[in-house]
Amino acid sequence: MNRNRPRARLWQTTTFRLAVLFATIFGIGSAALLVVLDLAVADFAEETARDALRDQMAVLKADANAEGGLALISALREHVEGGLPERFSYVVIAPTGERLDAGLPRAVETISGWGELRIPTREEQPGPDPYNINLIVLTDRASDGTFIAVGRDDYALSELREWLHKLAVWGGSAMVLLALLGGVAAGLILLNRLKAVGAAAEKVMRGDLSERLPSLGLGREFDDLADILNVMLERVEDAMVALRQVSSDVAHDLRTPLTRLRNTLEEAQQADASQRDGLLAEAIGDTDRLLEIFSALLRLAQIEGGAERRFIVMNLTEIVGDVVEAYRPAAEEGGGALTVQADGPAIMSGDPTMLAQVVASLIDNAITHGGPGGAIVIAVHALDEQVELSVTDNGPGAPAEEMSKLTRRFYRLDRSRNTVGSGLGLSMVAAIVDLHRGELILENSHPGMRVRMIFPGG
């Protein structure tokens, strides 16, 4: 693991990426808003201008119809020359040839109805076409033939647009800036929380397995994640504690047989030829027992690791029958009795070899610890959705307070210290039962000991 990886570059950090993401989204949003507004405003402004021109035309035409073109011209001239702020430009031509020109070029006379004109100018104008004044024009004729043209420039519209553009640019920039700040802030908050998690993880890595991750405080999903990781850490811690226990157990419990082996070998070294063979045979026996313990430990580790699982649907009653038949002569040799209680097949999913080993190991225990001439009862029952297996002996049993310790590796009752056995049998049984998702219950059967196992049926 590379724990000294270089600090991430700016553009690689979540903070930066979040900020850029926010800014991009807001930038695109602002631009879209501007385009939509621009179109809507332009439409609205043009409609308003046309309405105004239509109204103005209606007024002028009504005047010309009532009092004639000449009267209209003089009234308008008075109005125009009065210097009042003017929104409209006019051309009026009476049938007599008398005319009024107020702000519109002569080209207007060729237009009939609605039209648009462009007047070049030297001064810069606001709007998209800075050296032209754009005009909307409406022409008509009064009842006496008077030509009336009313025009209006798009100055106001351009101004509005320009203002909108400014608003969009400044507003958009402000939004992008805020988005960047927001992104940085969100990123920093997130990073800070993650840093706390990282620090906790670092502690765990350094060996402090009791450390737990802090709550992220960023919402349910994140907290759920932290919870799950904490449960994982708990499991890891349990496993490590168990492992430490096992290592020290192994170291401790192998010392005795190894010391014995060493003593035997030393004795053989000094013994005369006649005794040597016996001592060497004893040493080989001791070595074999040690090797047996090692392979039992190895196998136990494999089973507990769940590494080998070849489950098939099988009949536990059949397996029990086979194992019992294998053991029967040996059990009966010492005056004991093996009885099977089964009421038909007990179907479950499991590993036949492992379950045979469980039955064998429990019968081994019952024979070894149940005392001579013991009666051993092996019962298999198929319950609703469950299969129950039990092995009961009528030996001395075990003190109630030691029951729970019996499945520990190398754990042996004081009175069993001198019997053959590695102290791993019940640990193996427990591991195999666990692998089969079963429940293991050790209890006194008054007298004797009963080992009950309840497996999920299949």
């Binding site: 074999d288 090797l291 047996e292 392979s295 190895l298 196998r299 494999q302 590494a307 080998e308 070849r310 086979d322 194992v323 038949e325 294998a326 053991y327 029967r328 002569p329 040996a330 059990a331 009966e332 040799e333 590993d351 036949p352 070899t353 492992m354 045979a356 080993q357 064998a360 190991s361 019968i363 081994d364 024979i367 070894t368 053959v420 056995g421 049998g425």
Partner: protein, 225 residues
Amino acid sequence: MKVLVIEDDARTASFIGRGLTEAGHTADLAHNGDDGLHLGLAGGYDVLVIDRMLPGLSGLEALRALRAEGVRAPVLLLTALGSVDDRVAGLEGGADDYLVKPFAFSELLARLNALVRRPPLADIETQIRIADLEIDTRRRRVIRAGRRIDLTPQEYKLLEFLARRVGETVTRTMLLENLWGFHFDPRTNIVDAHVSRLRSKVDKGFDSELIRTLRGVGYLIDEPE
């Protein structure tokens, strides 16, 4: 018999080699998978002993390569791992037997003998005769000195297994694996109890003992000496 031993641990290899030579066999040693494959392909071996974990070409790979090249000689795979998966993988890879380290040399020798002398399936005897003992394997009937002997299924199974290997050593582990499917060592000596029951019916009260115990190794059934 001529045995090829492919084993990387020099001490284990020479232990096996010396043992085989002392027992009157010929042993060639190879210390890695590639050399082993080379020797194995050259042929002429009655049986091969291959360690599963070898440097370079692994034991299982060497075995597969040998089988792919048509080498038919029986193979005994040695392994330090004794898990079920492992055994199955070995047997699927073309091994004929499987022995977990550590092992007693006598166990290895007994298994090699069994592999080399394994009767071909085609001429399985249905009538086995050892001295005055007659076994009719079709009817599962046992007669000794003209007298019918009633055996339990377990006892019959054991007798037939021994009788089919007349004159050969059968180890306790071989019996546990083949007759009861136990791939673990039970603490109770169940094999001896079965054998002593069988003896009480087959040998007791007759002129000679056919079933012999080889101390610390196993049993064999044979004509009386």
